[in-house]
């Protein structure tokens, strides 16, 4: 029996070793393939293909990181969050609504910029009940603030969830809009207001 167990353990170890080796090899060959597949792109654009630690971890674990990895991501991503100098986390919900509608920015056809980057929230979330063209990749945000009683703590959480969602949900699908400098702090404040202001159509 003991021999059987030790045999099973060694077989398992060899299998895990072979798997890790394969993964390592494929990571190297992927890097090579990526270099050759975007050979005609400009160097500053090619830089977008280089992964940071969080992207690496999430890719490797297919967005289901084990606890230790998840904790490391949360710690690292929390540290990136910058708050407004004046401490005010809510801006103008009307501008937030415009930003939620706009999917402009970041694509190679968007340069030189003809508009500010948008948050593109409606691509994935339901927000204002009157807007029927909403995506379902993310949860519905209908009455998000109202349901949470517009508390200060919830306002702060929404700011953080937009600035860097990976600080709360490691390997979630949502882009790190603030940490990636895709949106400015001012824009994020406007989006927070769109989600959390009692006057916003999100909460009507």
């Amino acid at each position: 029996m003991k021999r059987l167990v030790s045999l099973a353990v060694s077989v398992a170890l060899v299998a895990v070793g072979a798997y890790l080796l394969l993964r390592g090899q494929s990571a190297a060959s992927i890097d090579t393939a990526i270099k050759s597949s975007w050979a005609s792109a400009a160097p500053d654009w090619r830089a977008r293909l280089v992964q940071d630690e969080t992207q690496k971890s999430c890719s490797q674990h297919r967005n289901a990181p084990p606890k230790a990895v998840a904790d490391a991501i949360i710690a690292r991503e929390k540290a990136t969050i910058q708050y407004p100098a004046d401490g005010k986390l809510m801006g103008d919900w009307k501008n937030g609504e415009k930003l939620a509608q706009s999917g402009y920015g970041g694509r190679f056809t968007d340069y030189p910029p003809r508009a500010e980057n948008g948050g593109n929230c409606y691509a994935c979330h339901q927000m204002d009940g009157k807007e029927l063209s909403f995506g379902t990749l993310g949860p519905s945000l209908r009455e998000y603030g109202k349901i949470r009683k517009y508390t200060e703590a919830e306002v702060k959480l929404v700011y953080e969830r937009i600035y860097n969602p990976q600080a709360t949900i490691p390997c979630g699908n949502m882009p790190r809009l603030g940490a990636a400098k895709f949106l400015t702090i001012e824009q994020i404040k406007d989006l927070v207001a769109f989600v959390m202001s009692p006057e916003s159509p999100v909460n009507k």
Partner: protein, 275 residues
């Protein structure tokens, strides 16, 4: 001319979508498209994509390029000149290049080696834009794919390099990168999801992959032109805020093999029509 009434219906549906981003309009478009698809099944020659296939066939057989040769000796994997059924078994390993190629990279290779065309010239304009006529590559790819209509995807996946490309394609599907952290899996790894009102196929699931992968190259009504799988993938990477990927690159070939393998056993219906 018998295309006209169908197009009128589609045009109305598309205008609805353009003027009111409205769920009902989207429904109307989808219903109209479904009706149209059904009609095409009954009468494949009313499919505008077949015009590209026709043009592709003429191009395939015409003596062209510095070597004044046709593509009739092009080996698409089933031997020189064998076009029927070739698409169903691509991407695959080719000994003459010691690597894996998909349909489109193989066509480019044949144009280079058999006809003597310059690769840079061929790839100057691989994709057509809205309301332009299809490019030569699009027509050729549509022709070859159409010669596998009704067959099922059966990539060989025997050679070590084919297996390696498949593993790479799968890893690439889940690889997150760029300013938005997007991977293919961000949009295509769950059932019943949408971007705005656009439904997203769950490509990680064979049942769904089988329904959609065989539709490409597809005629896009909104563009009035054929879109190939290379173009489809390049467009996804554009949307992911990444630079323009090279035509027929290792990454697009590996991803195509992953998709075709996911769709293994699924019927090839290309060129089908898309919104």
């Amino acid at each position: 001319m018998r295309l006209c009434p169908n197009f009128a219906g589609l045009a109305v549906a598309l205008v609805l979508i353009a003027t009111a981003a409205d769920a009902r309009a989207q429904d109307a478009t989808e219903k109209e498209l479904e009706r149209y698809r059904q009609m095409l099944k009954e009468d494949p020659w009313s499919n505008p994509g077949m015009l590209d296939a026709d043009r592709g066939e003429a191009l395939w057989k015409e003596k062209r390029g510095p070597k004044a040769a046709s593509l009739e000796k092009c080996d698409l994997g089933k031997g020189p000149g064998k076009v029927e059924g070739a698409f169903a078994e691509l991407p695959r390993y080719f000994g003459d290049v010691d690597g894996v190629m998909d349909l489109e990279s193989r066509i480019v290779w044949c144009m280079e080696t058999l006809q003597g065309f310059d690769r840079k010239e061929i790839l100057k304009r691989p994709y057509s834009k809205a309301n332009q006529s299809g490019t030569e590559l699009e027509a050729l790819a549509t022709y070859v794919a159409s010669k596998s209509r009704g067959l099922k995807f059966a990539p060989p996946l025997e050679h070590a390099k084919e297996k390696e490309a498949l593993a790479m394609g799968e890893a690439l599907f889940f690889r997150r990168q760029g300013p938005m952290d997007f991977a293919c899996a961000t949009c295509h790894a769950d059932a019943g999801r949408r971007i705005r009102l656009q439904s997203l196929p769950f490509l990680g699931k064979p049942e769904e992959a089988r329904q959609v992968v065989g539709e490409w190259p597809a005629y896009r009504v909104s563009q009035g032109t054929v879109m190939t799988m290379q173009h489809r993938i390049a467009d996804c990477y554009w949307q992911m805020r990444l630079p323009l990927i090279d035509y027929g690159s290792d990454v697009t070939v590996a991803l195509t093999l992953y998709l075709v393998n996911q769709a293994k056993g699924g019927e090839i219906t290309a060129p089908t029509i898309k919104r």
